[in-house]
Symmetry: C2
Subunit: 240 residues, 2 copies
DNA sequence: TATTGCTATATTGTCGACAATCTGTTTTTC
DNA sequence: GAAAAACAGATTGTCGACAATATAGCAATA
């Protein structure tokens, strides 16, 4: 075998680019929950035909950030307080499992990457770009799932990440003020390097709980605001 | 509110039907792992154009039972022993969580449905249709996820179910002999009706482990058989 | 003989146009 | 005037054709 191994080439089809664009638009809040995605308009804006756009949308529907009603349209998912609570509780379960699986795999390289991402979080905190802060924090949290050597777990986590990123972005946009500047990850990183797995798991639970409590409160507010609607009534759809 | 509530009408687009057909073909083993899906041929066989077929395939790629290589084709996923072990371990984690969440929701209706599905399993055991047996067993296992009142968990479980169904179907096809006729679910159902949640969780772990042990052994055999290939070598692709 | 370059063919990716369906408005009917 | 029917507009679903790309086979070359 040759000395240098090459990875397979990155796929570059229009479809893949469209997926990335749409996903980013949803996860940063540029496309709001409930908003309808008009195929013709978007395809014209992106200068592509509807075929690859529709295929891209199918992917995102399956990924859970869009929802489709035949002959009616495709919409950004709505966000309820229950959705956020559910994401939170599943996150707890997955984190605990991920830590257990990652624990024996913690090499020097793992620790290095852990520090690198922690630094990225600290650097992002100084910045005003809230999207960057969210991404950096989620990247840090992703590490235990990436090192668990469990492709299904990673897959599940990445799917969950999409939703988390969307929730946090919504929250940030609504509050419109920077995230608390103090670094809550110091302890988390320290425990991941240590020898007490149970402690690390416990901390993951409790630490993440803090972030979520505010999120859920925020989402409940959102719902109260729109509580005039009848239960089964359709929300007014905002066109693209 | 009126006396009878109606569910939304089933969506009937070609795409949805194609998804169902393809999914069934993969999960029953009619389409084998690694097999390539030729768009033109399938679209002609189904008497549809490639557009809805391609959209359907995008969904199944995202659902994890197909995999796509740009300009090369879309294939049924390969199955390794590690994949099965991973599915098994994630299943354990999710089951434990599902039982915890379902526990307070166990109404009379839940018990009735539990019995109904258990009966379905027992009836399927008498039959020769192995596919039906697998589906019935998975339906029974699905119950705790459906009653957990946790849409993300259910979503994750359903995605996992696809893989499990495929693994079991492969196994059955390879062995080509009926599943053991004894009913291993009696205890499981009994515990789910009882008052000891921990016991139910423990049993779920151990009972499911039995089913999986044989599966994993089978998959390892499969890999040994094809172990002549070099590590990175492409498997020969079987065309549709 | 092994490697490189070219060619032919098959297959996937993308496009523009048409058909099916939904929604809101207008017209008809009682 | 109210309910039903018919119409109009817009949007999604589907189709057939073309463009871009990959694969296999063969020729050329060292």
């Amino acid at each position: 075998m040759s000395k240098t191994d090459f990875d397979p080439i990155i796929d570059t089809t229009r479809r893949a680019e469209i997926v990335a664009l749409l996903k980013r638009a949803v996860l940063t809040g540029k496309l709001e929950p409930g908003q309808k995605l008009n195929e013709l308009r978007i395809s014209e804006q992106m200068r592509v035909s509807r075929a690859p756009l529709r295929e891209a949308m199918r992917e995102l529907v399956q990924e859970g950030i869009l929802t489709s009603i035949p002959y009616a349209g495709t919409f950004v998912i709505e966000v309820t307080a229950k959705d956020i609570e559910d994401a939170y509780s599943l996150n707890q379960v997955l984190d605990e499992f991920a830590i257990e699986r990652t624990w024996p795999n913690r090499t020097k390289q793992f620790v290095a990457e852990l520090d690198r991402r922690h630094d990225a979080v600290k650097r992002a905190t100084l910045n005003v770009d809230t999207t960057g802060q969210i991404e950096a924090a989620l990247q840090l949290h992703s590490l235990i799932h990436e090192w668990a050597d469990h492709s299904l777990l990673l897959d599940t986590w990445l799917r969950l990440t999409s939703r988390l990123q969307m929730y946090f972005a919504l929250h940030q946009r609504a509050r419109n003020e920077p995230v608390p500047a103090i670094d809550v990850h110091e302890e988390y990183v320290r425990l991941l390097k240590g020898n007490d797995m149970k402690a690390a798991q416990r901390h993951a639970r409790e630490h993440i709980a803090l972030d979520f409590e505010e999120l859920v409160a925020f989402a409940k507010n959102l719902e109260q605001r729109g509580a005039g609607d009848k239960s089964g009534a359709k929300r007014k759809r905002i066109d693209t």
